[in-house]
Subunit: 104 residues, 3 copies
């Protein structure tokens, strides 16, 4: 039996990792995955027409699955407001399906 859930993905500068993880936990995420680009990832963003190339060593990708779509949206809105006005980074939501929603 599959259940709809929402995945929050954040691509951000490494210096934000602890703050993002705290925001995820505060928002109700029971688990999350952190992948460190560690010299193997590059993230390029352009903010207001000036290209900003984030150092290849500083990128993290964090994903959290939320059984509650509302909780996922609240987390994404919180991150966008608190971090990504200042820092380059991306947050987006993906529709997924999970088994055992009680774990998320």
């Amino acid at each position: 039996m599959f259940h709809a859930a929402t995945k929050v993905t954040i691509i951000a500068e490494r210096l934000l990792q602890d703050k993002i993880v705290k925001a995820l936990e505060a928002g109700g995420a029971k688990g999350y995955t952190v992948v460190d680009g560690g010299g193997k990832g590059e993230h390029f963003t352009r903010i207001e027409d000036s290209a900003s190339v984030v150092n290849a060593f500083s990128i993290i990708r964090i994903e959290a699955i939320l059984a509650s779509d509302d909780a996922a949206r609240a987390i994404a809105t919180d991150l966008e407001t608190n971090f990504f006005n200042q820092y380059s980074g991306v947050v987006y939501l993906s529709p997924i399906e999970i088994l055992r929603p009680e774990r998320f």
Copy 2:
């Protein structure tokens, strides 16, 4: 011409890699991608309220695309039943669109 397909994503302890790959092949996946966290990934899950922190060096992420949604669901159910009652890990499905469905 795009065709609906289903992506199965598994985040699991590295020791499960071979078994997961066998389950994917048995379930009809013609291709898959394995990304080894290799000291750069962390996965935290909480099972039954006791936090389990999986070693940062032991995480793999495996993705397989199935042209058949039924096949993807069967694989996910199989993995959940056979592995993730015992081991920490996550399996989820994502709706995607592909070109050339005969390759998947």
Copy 3:
């Protein structure tokens, strides 16, 4: 306020990275993420029944988010036509939701 967007994901041999990035930019992607498998990723594809194992050191995963679904489809079609008839690799689309669509 969330807005529907389309994510293009490409899994390909590393030698294609520059060409893929050019195709993304030509197609209107304002930003993209490149993750180098760098000995930590494996991608297996089978083309026409002959298994082709791509070297573990040569895989990249590139993702780009497009606010325009049409632009995402045009990029995916372009990549499939120009590269993945010859080279092993995968391109797929995922429905996502973003904040601040003007950035994508």
